[in-house]
C-alpha cells in the first residue's frame, strides 16, 4: 500500500480546465448564435471562461450590463436576519447551476445562479428539458382526441386542462351543456384543486425540512385520487372532461366517496396547521422570503395563489365564471405580503373554500344527462348502436374522422390551482385544430422566479421555488 493518495488511473495530476477564447458551438451561422458569440467576445475574460466552462452557448446569462431585466428584478428587498453587507469584488462572483436534476426543482428545471458568497446576485431559469412538442401533437389529433393530449400538460391538475380545452372547443361549436355535466365538471375540478394544493403543502414542507408533511400531504391526496380512479378509471391524466360534457356518469355510491373526502381532508388540514402555523423553523424559512409585489405580478403575468398572496383580488371563478361556478357560494382568500408564508395561508384557505363548493355540488347535484345529446359531437349510448343504423353511422363518423368545428379563434381560461390556465384555439373548419396554444400558469411563475429570488440567500431559493409550485410539464409542454 502506498502512502500517497492517487486516483484509479494512478494519475496524481489535478484535472485542468481549458479556457477557450470562445465558447464551443457558438460559431454557427444563425443570427442568434452570431449575436451571442459577439456578446461573449466583447465580454470580460471572466465571461469568456464561464461560457467555455459550462458549454451551454445561448442559454448563458447575459453580461451584467447588458441584462435589461436586472434593474426590474432587483426592486424588492428580502427581509432576512442576514444583513451584513460584505463589500464584494465582482471578480469573485461565481456561477452555480441548480438542476436540472436537483430534487427540489420539482421536475427538470435548471436555475443558473450568480452568487456573491451566499447572496444571489442574479438568477436565470432555464427550461425546455421536458419539452415534447405537445402543441404540435395537438394539431395532429381530432378534437375528441385532444383532451388526452392536454391532460398530460399540467399533470397535477389534469381536469383543469381538459376543462379549458373543452370550453374553448364548445364555444366554437356553440354547444349547450346539460346542468349535470357542468356540476360534475365543477365537482371534479374543485376536488382536483384540493389534491393539487395538498401535494403542494407536502412538497413545500419537505423542501424546507418538515419531512413529515410530505407523508401527510400525500396520504390525504391519495383519498381524492381514489375517488378519481373510481370515477374515471385513472388516478391522473383522466381524459374525462371532453368537448360536449364528460365521458361517463358518476359511479354508483359516489356520494359516500365524496362524503369521505369531505370528512377526512378538513381534519387533516387542521393537523397541518397545528404542525406548521406556529412552527418557528417554518416561520423562519417562509416569512418575508421570496416576495413579489402586485405590480410585478401584473408585469410578469403571474396569477393564481401567488398573485392573491400579494394582495391581488382576482379569481377567474368570480370574474369570468365558467361551468356555472358562480351559482355556488365561496370566498376568494387574499393575503397581503406576497411572501412564501402568505402563499401557504392562501392555499390552505383555498382548500377549505374548494371543499365548501364540493359540499354544495353534493347537495344540489342535478339529475339528467351528463353530456350534450348532440350526436354530431358526442357518441351515442352503446346499446343504441345495436338498434339504430343512424347511431352506428354517428359512432363510426365520430371515431374515424371526428367532428368538424367552425372556423374561428377563441381563448377560454379557467382558474387552475396555479393560476390562469387558458387555451387559445384556432380552427380552419376542419376536424383537427389548426393551432392549439396553452397559456400555462407555471410558465409565467417560472419566469418570475428571478423577481422573487434576487438578493436572497441560496437556502431561500428552495423555499421560494417550492412556493411558486411550478409543474414542469406545464412549463415545457
Amino acid at each position: 500500500m502506498s502512502d500517497t493518495p492517487s486516483n484509479v488511473d494512478g494519475d496524481v495530476e489535478a484535472p485542468t480546465v481549458e479556457a477557450p477564447v470562445t465558447g464551443p458551438g457558438l460559431s454557427g451561422d444563425s443570427v442568434d448564435r452570431r449575436r451571442v458569440h459577439d456578446m461573449w467576445v466583447a465580454g470580460t475574460e471572466e465571461r469568456d471562461w464561464i461560457a467555455g466552462a459550462t458549454d451551454e452557448g445561448a442559454q448563458e446569462l447575459l453580461p451584467d450590463d447588458m441584462d435589461p431585466a436586472s434593474p426590474i428584478q432587483r426592486g424588492v428587498a428580502v427581509v432576512d436576519d442576514f444583513v451584513e453587507e460584505v463589500p464584494f469584488d465582482p471578480e469573485e462572483r461565481q456561477i452555480m447551476n441548480m438542476g436540472p436534476q436537483h430534487p427540489s426543482t420539482h421536475g427538470v428545471l435548471r436555475l443558473q445562479l450568480e452568487l456573491e458568497g451566499e447572496t444571489i446576485h442574479r438568477v436565470k431559469p432555464i427550461i425546455g428539458y421536458l419539452h415534447t412538442g405537445m402543441e404540435k401533437t395537438g394539431e395532429t389529433l381530432t378534437y375528441m382526441q385532444g383532451a388526452t393530449n392536454v391532460t398530460r400538460m399540467d399533470y397535477l391538475s389534469p381536469f383543469f386542462n381538459e376543462l379549458a380545452y373543452s370550453l374553448a372547443v364548445e364555444e366554437l361549436l356553440g354547444v349547450e351543456l346539460p346542468p349535470r355535466a357542468d356540476a360534475i365538471r365543477v365537482l371534479l375540478t374543485e376536488l382536483n384543486r384540493v389534491a393539487s394544493h395538498l401535494l403542494w403543502v407536502a412538497t413545500q414542507g419537505m423542501d424546507i425540512g418538515a419531512l413529515s408533511m410530505m407523508l401527510y400531504g400525500w396520504r390525504e391526496r391519495e383519498k381524492i385520487l381514489n375517488f378519481f380512479e373510481k370515477t374515471t378509471g385513472l388516478r391522473m391524466n383522466h381524459n374525462f372532461i371532453r368537448p360536449g360534457g364528460v365521458a361517463a356518469d358518476l359511479p354508483d355510491g359516489w356520494e359516500e366517496d365524496v362524503e369521505l373526502v369531505l370528512d377526512e381532508v378538513p381534519k387533516a388540514v387542521v393537523e397541518y396547521e397545528d404542525l406548521l402555523n406556529e412552527n418557528p423553523i417554518f416561520l423562519d424559512r417562509t416569512v418575508g422570503v421570496g416576495i413579489i409585489t402586485p405590480d410585478e405580478c401584473d408585469a410578469y403575468g403571474v396569477t393564481g395563489p401567488i398573485a392573491r398572496a400579494a394582495g391581488i383580488n382576482w379569481d377567474l371563478r368570480k370574474t369570468a365564471p365558467y361551468s356555472g361556478i358562480d351559482q355556488y357560494d365561496f370566498d376568494v382568500p387574499v393575503a397581503e405580503h406576497g411572501d412564501v408564508f402568505d402563499r401557504y395561508i392562501v392555499r390552505i384557505a383555498e382548500i377549505g373554500e374548494s371543499l365548501g363548493i364540493v359540499r354544495q355540488v353534493l347537495e344540489k347535484m342535478p339529475s339528467g344527462d351528463y353530456r350534450s345529446e348532440d350526436r354530431k359531437v358526442t357518441p351515442p349510448p352503446r346499446q343504441r348502436i345495436d338498434e339504430s343504423m343512424e347511431a352506428l353511422i354517428h359512432h363510426f363518423k365520430l371515431f374515424t374522422e371526428g367532428f368538424k368545428v367552425p372556423a374561428g379563434d377563441v381563448y377560454r381560461a379557467v382558474e387552475g390551482p396555479r393560476g390562469e390556465l387558458g387555451v387559445y384555439l384556432v380552427s380552419k373548419g376542419g376536424a383537427r385544430p389548426w393551432r392549439i396554444h396553452v397559456r400555462a400558469p407555471s410558465f409565467a411563475a417560472v419566469q418570475a422566479l428571478p423577481v422573487m429570488m434576487t438578493d436572497s440567500l441560496v437556502a431561500d431559493i428552495i423555499a421560494t421555488l417550492a412556493s411558486a409550485d411550478p409543474v414542469l410539464g406545464d412549463v415545457d409542454r
Binding site: P68, D298, G301, T319, Y411, Y424, R435, A448
Partner: protein, 132 residues
C-alpha cells in the same frame, strides 16, 4: 379583439397599458401557411380594475418575419417572445435575449411552423456528430 398593423403593435400595447390593461397574460404566434401575410402574433391583456380583456392580433409576412418586442412594456413577454421565436422563427426586434427556450440551442428549424414535418424527421441529439 383588435387587429393592428405590425408596425403599430408596440405602440398599441403601450397605449393599452396606459388605458388600464396592465396585466400581461399571454403572447403566442400562429402560422397560417398559404395565407398572406403568413404569421400572426396574438397578445392577451387584462384590465383587472374594469374586468376587461383585450386580444391584439397582428399579421406578419413570412418572408420578413419580424415585429417589435413588447418586453420594454411588459417584462413578462420575455419568455413568450422567446417561445415564439423558438417555435415559429419570428424575430422580435429589441428583445434583450432572443434565444431558444424550449428546443436545444443548436436545433435547426422552427418546429411549430406548418411546413415543419411531423414524424420521419431525423432526431437531432446535441453534439451527436461528435459521439461517432
Amino acid at each position: 379583439m383588435t387587429v393592428v398593423p405590425r408596425q403599430e403593435l408596440v405602440e398599441v400595447v403601450s397605449r393599452a397599458k396606459e388605458d388600464g390593461y396592465s396585466t400581461f397574460i399571454d403572447l403566442c404566434a400562429v402560422d397560417h401557411l398559404r395565407e398572406r401575410p403568413r404569421f400572426e402574433v396574438v397578445v392577451n391583456l387584462v384590465d383587472r380594475g374594469a374586468n376587461r380583456r383585450l386580444r391584439i392580433h397582428t399579421r406578419i409576412p413570412g418572408d420578413d418575419a419580424t415585429v417589435g418586442s413588447i418586453t420594454s412594456i411588459f417584462p413578462g413577454a420575455n419568455f413568450y417572445e422567446r417561445e415564439a421565436w423558438d417555435l415559429f422563427g419570428i424575430t422580435f426586434e429589441g428583445h434583450p435575449d432572443l434565444t431558444r427556450i424550449l428546443m436545444p440551442d443548436d436545433w435547426d428549424g422552427h418546429p411549430l411552423r406548418k411546413d415543419y414535418s411531423v414524424g420521419s424527421v431525423p432526431v437531432q441529439f446535441k453534439r451527436a456528430h461528435q459521439a461517432t
